[in-house]
């Protein structure tokens, strides 16, 4: 399953809600303001743990638009929209956390 999160964890608790229920095979893609949570000083321990397993992605364009490219945590993978499409294809059902 692919979980997209489009709100900063400073604004809503949707990322935390997602982290609380995510199973062992699903991945998270941070989009829109959700990419704020990809910054190395905004990371939650749970998100960091998933990231070390290579299961956290962030949308490059949204990261760049918010000026945090140099702050993205090392093991969070950046994808473009083509990569977003590939993640949806690969991981089946897409759940949007808002």
């Amino acid at each position: 399953m692919l979980h997209t999160v489009n709100k900063s964890s400073f604004e809503r608790n949707s990322l935390q809600s997602c982290l609380n229920i995510i199973d062992d095979t699903s991945v998270i893609l941070l989009i829109e303001d959700g990419v704020i949570s990809a910054a190395n000083n905004a990371n939650s321990p749970m998100l960091a743990d998933l990231a070390t397993q290579g299961r956290v992605y962030a949308l490059q364009g949204d990261v760049d638009a918010r000026g945090i490219s140099s702050k993205v945590a090392d093991n969070i993978k950046l994808v473009d929209y083509a990569g977003f499409v590939d993640l949806v294809v690969e991981h089946g059902t897409a759940v949007s956390w808002v």
Partner: protein, 133 residues
């Protein structure tokens, strides 16, 4: 693969429609099919043919229209939820006539229909991706 997209937010106030458009474009470029885009809640405002952004800004409505998402019969598959549209003053020709109102504002690349079209999109498509709140 067959994709459908649901958009719940209007243009220029939320990133949802822009994100969905970029996603749709990338999916088409990768050889996938967009079966239907369903505009729900404030997302119905993406279908206004009266949208006139400044010349140096993107025209979200025309961008969607130019993707030319249609079915085999040539009908647009940019589908606007009828209940969400009518309560926000979004009318096509037939709904305007039915309600005794002069004029209509749904862009011809879009069509008004019911929520069943969203359910059908979910059934007929391999993937349904939701944008907006």
């Amino acid at each position: 693969m067959k994709f459908s997209i649901q958009i719940n937010e209007g243009p220029y106030q939320h990133q949802a429609s822009d994100s969905a458009y970029q996603f749709a474009k990338a999916a088409i470029a990768a050889g996938h099919e967009i079966f239907r885009v369903f505009f729900y809640h404030d997302g119905v405002n993406n279908a206004s043919r009266f949208t006139m952004p400044p010349q140096d800004d993107r025209n979200v409505v025309n961008q969607w229209a130019e993707l030319g998402i249609k079915n085999a019969d040539g009908e647009p598959e940019l589908v606007v939820c009828i209940a969400a549209a009518l309560r926000r003053g979004m009318l096509d020709e037939s709904e305007a006539k039915k309600n005794g109102i002069e004029g209509n504002n749904i862009h011809p690349a879009f069509r008004i229909s019911g929520l069943g079209q969203l359910i059908e999109a979910g059934i007929q498509s391999d993937r349904l991706v939701v944008f907006g709140d």
